[in-house]
């Protein structure tokens, strides 16, 4: 697989935007500006960007609760996204959904989900619908290792194979479902083997290696687009932060977290870009600055944005 200089700059920028968004989210929360909780994806940037970089703009994704990175990788407007995180009226979901439920339907992001595994059954139906509509579009359905133990995943694998839907199921194995260690019951390879057993091509990747993720997912997307049906890709990765704000990190050691920080997906990709002479250190640093500046601008936009009016509370429960 060849990555152009332009693509490399795009991917690095998106990864820095994700990292910066998550760091800003945490800062805003600590400053008491955010009502609610959040699930940060720092450390998982290559899985989001590498996977979604294989889609056309009119393809679709459906996400999970740790979905900020996926949303940015699908090309969301950072201002509207940050405004949603702040619960503002001009956010993507008018402040109704918040961090865990951001959707950008026009941009092909059919939404994050607060129920672990909640998006997977819908993914099958979206695939069925895309086939019926005769559109040559592909859906990527993201979930984590936590969802891989849920019934929703297994029922959906069966239906996805039955209907040969144009869906790439992408499990981001970040090693913990809240505190429950994936290693206590499975591995990325074993999750991939489940897909194989259900009857779809499957693979596991070093989810911190953007190029490896992109290669595996591209194959699956091409397979789906050419009418070959669903695939399952498992990206082996790690979340640096806790599950949510209530996490005291009692179930893992600082040493373990530090070990994974050594495998930082952003630094890995920078090293690749340098080796392949795609981006110099200076260019990469400039991109980093840009990413952080974009998020700072989004913060300013969000903080200046209007709150929803209480009189509008009942709007949008039912469609006319």
């Amino acid at each position: 697989m060849t990555i152009t200089k332009e693509q490399a700059a795009d991917y690095l920028l998106q990864m820095y935007q994700i990292r910066a968004f998550e760091e800003q989210a945490e800062k805003s929360y600590m400053a008491g500006k955010i009502h609610g909780t959040m699930h940060l994806s720092i450390g998982q940037e290559a899985s989001a960007v590498g996977s979604i970089s294989t889609l056309d703009p009119d393809d679709f994704i459906i996400g999970h609760h740790r979905g900020h990175g996926l949303t940015i990788a699908k090309g969301a407007d950072l201002n509207l996204m940050m405004a949603e995180f702040y619960g503002k009226e001009n956010g993507y979901c008018r402040g109704r959904g918040g961090s865990m439920h951001i959707a950008d339907v026009k941009g092909g992001n059919l939404g994050a989900n607060g129920v672990v595994g909640g998006g997977i059954p819908m993914a099958v139906g979206i695939g069925v619908g895309l086939k019926m509509q005769g559109k040559n579009r592909v859906l990527q359905a993201f979930f984590g290792d936590g969802a891989a133990s849920a019934g929703a995943f297994h029922e959906s694998m069966i239906l996805a194979v039955l209907f040969q839907v144009p869906v790439v199921f992408i499990c981001e194995n970040n090693q913990y479902a809240m505190s429950f260690a994936a290693s206590d019951w499975t591995t990325s390879k074993k999750i991939a083997a489940m897909g194989e057993n259900y009857g779809m091509p499957s693979a596991s990747t070093d989810g911190n290696n953007l190029v490896e993720v992109k290669e595996a997912v591209q194959k699956a997307v091409d397979h789906a687009r050419s009418g070959g049906g669903p695939s399952l890709i498992v990206n082996d990765t790690y979340r640096w932060r806790g599950h949510s704000k209530s996490d005291r990190n009692r179930y893992r050691t600082d040493e373990e977290i530090d070990e994974w920080k050594e495998k930082d997906p952003i630094l890995k990709f920078r090293a690749y870009c340098k080796k392949e002479k795609l981006l110099s250190d200076n260019e990469a640093d400039t991109i980093k600055e840009q990413g952080y500046a974009d998020i700072e601008a989004a913060r300013v936009f969000a903080e200046a944005s209007p709150e929803p009016k209480v009189e509008t509370l009942m709007e949008g429960v039912y469609a006319p």
Binding site: C93, D104, L110, G111, M122
Partner: protein, 328 residues
């Protein structure tokens, strides 16, 4: 006008809507060659093919979620859950997803789907194939809940439900499937959220749902011989509820008997009593609002025990007589 059964009316509504609108399709267990556990979809596979009649293995959560997902991108799926008891397995996708996606995404999405399911006892199928869970879904903003009681309404309400841009739980009663009635051959809609006065009367209002509408009508007929004049109101749609028709009826008669098959505690009767109590009809009440509903017991197998666990015509006659003749 020609007469067809409630079951045929449902099949006809789906068939005609599928002919009219290529976005409509069916998904469910054993709905293909088998024709569905109650034969509602019999013959539809032959007519529409396996591309639009999606027969699936046992995956209540999966098939319901597939309907939600398809609806999310503009299809109009009709999911069949073989027995309402099994909506327990489907409810994550129905309650957490279908009902909420529109609101939680700030109006970016719609979920135009129907979940059809047969409810109720009387078939000797006991605890796991006889329950009436309508009020669980009535409790969820974002869902609509419909309970047709005649063949005419089954067709018109189902067509409206398919065309509605929201998730509709369409609850059929097994014992009504074989009942016959006049049904127009053309497509027609009965709007959701509009109650029907099935029988006019002045002494007492019976508000009944599902099969209890038919039982209440039989009871009213019986009591008319004693000179008791009963009005029977069928809400038809539990959410949204036509409170106006109910309130007006209560204002007219001053007495209310609520009859439903579901267990009384936490049932829809409590909601109806609350709505009446909070309305201007309260001042017109001449007696306490009485609920006659399912007993606080799982549905038993034995015929007589099963019969005794839900209201029967004689129970309605007795309660209605007592209430109508009560002097206050």
């Amino acid at each position: 006008m020609r007469e067809i059964t409630y079951l045929e009316a449902i099949r006809e509504a789906m068939t005609q809507e599928m002919e009219r609108d290529s976005r409509v399709f069916l998904i469910g267990e054993d709905i293909g060659e088998y024709g569905g556990a109650f034969q509602v979809t019999y013959g539809m596979l032959e007519k529409f093919g396996s591309e639009r009649i999606l027969d699936v293995p046992i995956t209540e959560l999966g098939l319901t979620g597939a309907a939600v997902g398809a609806a999310l991108i503009g299809m109009r799926p009709i999911a069949e859950i073989m027995f309402m008891d099994f909506t327990t397995l489907a409810s994550e996708q129905l309650v957490n997803q279908a009902a909420k996606l529109r609101f939680m995404f700030g109006g970016q999405s719609t979920v135009p789907m129907v979940l059809r399911t047969p409810a109720g006892s009387g078939t000797g199928a006991a605890q796991h194939h006889s329950q009436s869970f309508e009020n669980w879904f009535v409790h969820v903003p974002g869902l609509k809940v419909v309970m047709p009681t005649t063949p005419y309404e089954a067709k018109g309400l189902l067509i409206s439900s398919i065309r509605d841009n929201n998730a509709v739980v369409f609850i059929e009663h097994k014992l009504l499937y074989k009942t016959k009635g006049e049904v127009p051959e053309d497509l027609y809609e009965i709007p959701l959220g509009v109650a029907d006065i099935k029988r006019e009367g002045t002494d007492l209002t019976i508000i009944a749902t599902g099969i209890m509408v038919q039982k209440s009508l039989a009871a009213a007929e019986e009591l008319s011989k004693e000179g008791i004049d009963i009005e029977v109101v069928d809400p038809r749609t539990l959410r949204p509820l036509d409170t106006e028709t109910i309130v007006n009826s209560v204002k007219k008669t001053g007495k209310v008997l609520i009859v439903h098959e579901a267990v009384k505690t936490g049932g829809f009767g409590g909601e109806l009593a609350g709505v009446i109590s909070e309305s201007e009809a309260f001042g017109y009440l001449e007696a306490p609002i009485i609920r006659l509903a399912g007993k606080e017991v799982p549905i038993p197998y034995n015929r007589e025990l099963e019969r005794a666990s839900v209201p029967q015509i004689e129970d309605i006659v007795e309660k209605a007589r007592e209430l109508a003749t009560l002097k206050v």
